[in-house]
């Protein structure tokens, strides 16, 4: 078979040290020759050699991607590359041989925007904390779900029934779980003043250990360490639906007057909320899992949507320092809102001037 050979021009073929990595990797990038209509060659052969050596075939690719990352290399050594592209009866060879030197990087410039955003956020937090310490009060809009916490605890006291608190099904590495444990502390302190018992079944063993300490310490701070019942906080199972059925059993047998579902939930959210609704309990839910919010909203009396869960600790305690962090969040939201709005306007004219902010 007769092959037609074309040469790629130098600017179509690039070789460079993979940026922002621990070293040992070189990226080979190429543009598809215009003769390859669907940008899918039969194969691409990558050749590599070190100084004084012969070229060796290191990779044969069958892919639409126009790059390859050669890893496992030694840092600070020169590596030479050429590529050959096979397409039907044509062969394309790189005209020149290029080289690169893999190096270890010490700062990820591509994440600089994230760092700036984080420092900006921290700056806002510190600014509003200083305002709060000077006595300048900050407005917080009403969150009905959190206003109802006291009422819900009071209801449980009147009916002489316990409170059921579910801190979500995720582990402690999920921030929603930590937010839930913060709220648990508040709820326990309030319940202690009414001598109302609280049941906290857990799906994660680490969360169980933390929840136990939170309940114990909160009761101590409320001046009622005698109310601590080690049986009230326990680990159930790490099986998702096993946990859901255990909690449903608790709801049907113990008949708590108040159910709190605060944290991360998945498919079992509706099972928990509906079973609680059948027992006639007042239910307050809060999650940042967007897919589960509709189920909680339909089946619960009050729902904390997304960031309201994270604002709960500040809202309940009304500590100026905590409230000021919510104001900082609002400032960042305002900035994002302005960028989205302006991007929408520019986007109508086909311009995207703010892409660099988000790494695009």
């Amino acid at each position: 078979m007769k092959f037609l050979i074309y040469f790629l021009f130098l600017w179509n073929f690039k070789v460079y040290d993979t940026p922002y990595d621990a070293g040992g990797e070189i990226t080979i990038e190429w543009e598809w020759p215009t003769q390859i209509k669907d940008k899918r060659a039969d194969s691409v052969i990558i050749w590599r050699k070190k100084e004084g050596e012969e070229f060796k075939k290191i990779k044969k690719l069958v892919t639409i991607q126009n790059f390859y990352k050669d890893s496992g290399l030694k840092n600070n050594e020169k590596y030479f590359y050429k590529i050959t592209i096979y397409y039907k009866d044509k062969i394309f060879e790189s005209e020149k041989i290029l080289f690169a030197i893999p190096k270890e990087q010490y700062f990820h410039l591509g994440r600089l925007n994230i760092m700036i955003g984080a420092f900006l956020f921290v700056g806002f937090i510190l600014f509003f904390i200083s305002r709060a310490k000077r006595g300048i009060s900050l407005f917080l809009r009403k969150i009905p779900g959190l206003d109802a916490v006291e009422e819900a605890i009071g209801r449980a006291t009147e009916m002489g029934r316990p409170i059921l608190y579910i801190p979500g099904l995720s582990g402690v590495s999920d921030v929603a779980t930590i937010a839930s444990l913060n709220i648990l502390s508040h709820v326990v302190k309030k319940a202690a003043s009414y001598e109302t018992s609280i049941i906290v079944p857990n799906r994660d063993p680490v969360v169980y250990l933390i929840a136990r300490e939170v309940v114990k310490e909160a009761l101590s701070l409320a001046g009622r360490p005698d109310l601590f019942d080690p049986d009230s906080v326990y680990y159930v199972t790490d099986s998702q639906f096993g946990y859901a059925s255990a909690v449903c059993g608790i709801m049907v047998r113990e008949k708590p007057a108040t159910n709190f579902f605060l944290g991360m939930f998945w498919a079992e959210s509706l099972i928990l909320a509906e079973t609680g609704a059948t027992t006639g309990a007042i239910q307050i839910a809060g999650t940042d899992a967007v897919t589960q919010l509709p189920f909680f909203i339909t089946a619960c009396d009050y729902t904390l949507i997304g960031e309201e869960l994270y604002a709960a600790s500040a809202y309940l305690s009304r500590e100026p320092v905590l409230v000021s962090t919510i104001r900082a969040q609002d400032m960042m939201k305002a900035i994002i809102w302005i960028i989205i709005f302006l991007s929408g306007i520019f986007g109508i004219f086909g311009k995207m001037p703010f892409n660099f902010i988000f790494g695009g």
């Binding site: 069958v62 892919t63 639409i64 990352k69 498919a267 059948t278």
Partner: protein, 274 residues
């Protein structure tokens, strides 16, 4: 008039009973309600359809029993399609609970097409470290799986004579009830340029459409509807198709209950205003 009031507070047990009856009937006697064909499902079907004989498809059974009704029919339909086209099938799982489910596919479906184990299809079993496994498959499958699920040395299996890594695999299909398909994109496609397709639950499908639009997924099956559409395309109606009849009936029933509830609610409101 009391009847109209009652409509607003029907006992939930009556609702459950009517739902149970209306779901069981189409499962026993299929209604054969029409099932359309959406573009994401057709894309995956066409991709497998145009593969030459002997091409290798890797099926990753990354789900557990809790999403069995949605994900298992997808895996079965794809295995059927692959084997019926005389393509070769490599099956593995990255979810420990998926082993039994993958085994069910491997022991039943190839026999229908007289396929030979080790030559036309193979089951590699479960590997715990997702990142290491997906990356390792791009270097040498036999190093990651020195033995298959049944204890055979992968070196001795005929299928691996010309299959070493992603270079020799036409498509990876990840069927999952979690975020595993995204790991396949980041690791297999991002690093090795491997073509990926996914089958996920209906709730998760909406989150994966951005990947489909950017071409990172070759195709996408969403929920039981996606599985039913694929069964229609391969002309083998099974669990998903009969399940879709039940889903269709239950959707209509829920709408009827909601309408009934609202009729009762509006009547109660009017009565209170009087």
């Amino acid at each position: 008039m009391k009847f109209l009031e009652y409509l607003a507070k029907i006992d939930r047990r009556i609702i459950y009973l009517i739902l149970v009856i209306s779901i069981i009937i189409p499962l026993i006697k299929p209604l054969n309600l029409p099932v359309g064909t959406s573009h994401p499902v057709k894309s995956l079907f066409d991709f497998i359809e145009k593969q030459p004989e002997g091409a290798v498809i890797l099926l990753s059974v990354d789900y557990d029993a809790s999403v069995y009704p949605e994900c298992h029919p997808m895996a079965r339909a794809i295995a059927r399609h692959v084997l019926s086209k005389n393509l070769r099938l490599i099956c593995l799982t990255l979810n420990p609970a998926g082993t039994g489910l993958a085994l069910e596919i491997i022991t039943q479906i190839p026999n229908e097409y007289n396929k030979k184990y080790g030559e036309d299809y193979v089951f590699l079993g479960f590997r715990p470290d997702i990142t290491a496994t997906i990356l390792g498959l791009g270097e040498d499958i036999r190093k990651i799986f020195p033995y298959d699920y049944f204890g055979n040395k992968t070196d001795t299996l005929k299928i691996f004579k010309d299959v070493k890594n992603y270079d020799n695999i036409a498509l990876v299909v990840s069927i999952s009830g979690s975020a595993l398909p995204v790991s396949w994109i980041y690791l297999a496609r991002g690093r090795y340029g491997q073509d990926i397709a996914a089958g996920v639950t209906a709730v998760m499908a909406a989150d994966y459409y951005p990947y489909l639009r950017t071409g990172q997924f070759v195709g996408l099956l969403g929920g039981m509807k996606g599985a039913a559409e694929y069964e229609k395309l391969i002309n083998k109606k099974e669990l998903a198709t009969s399940g879709m009849d039940a889903i269709s009936i239950s959707h209509i029933l829920i709408i009827i209950f909601v309408i009934i509830g609202n009729i009762g609610y509006i009547f109660v409101l009017k009565r209170r205003k009087k």
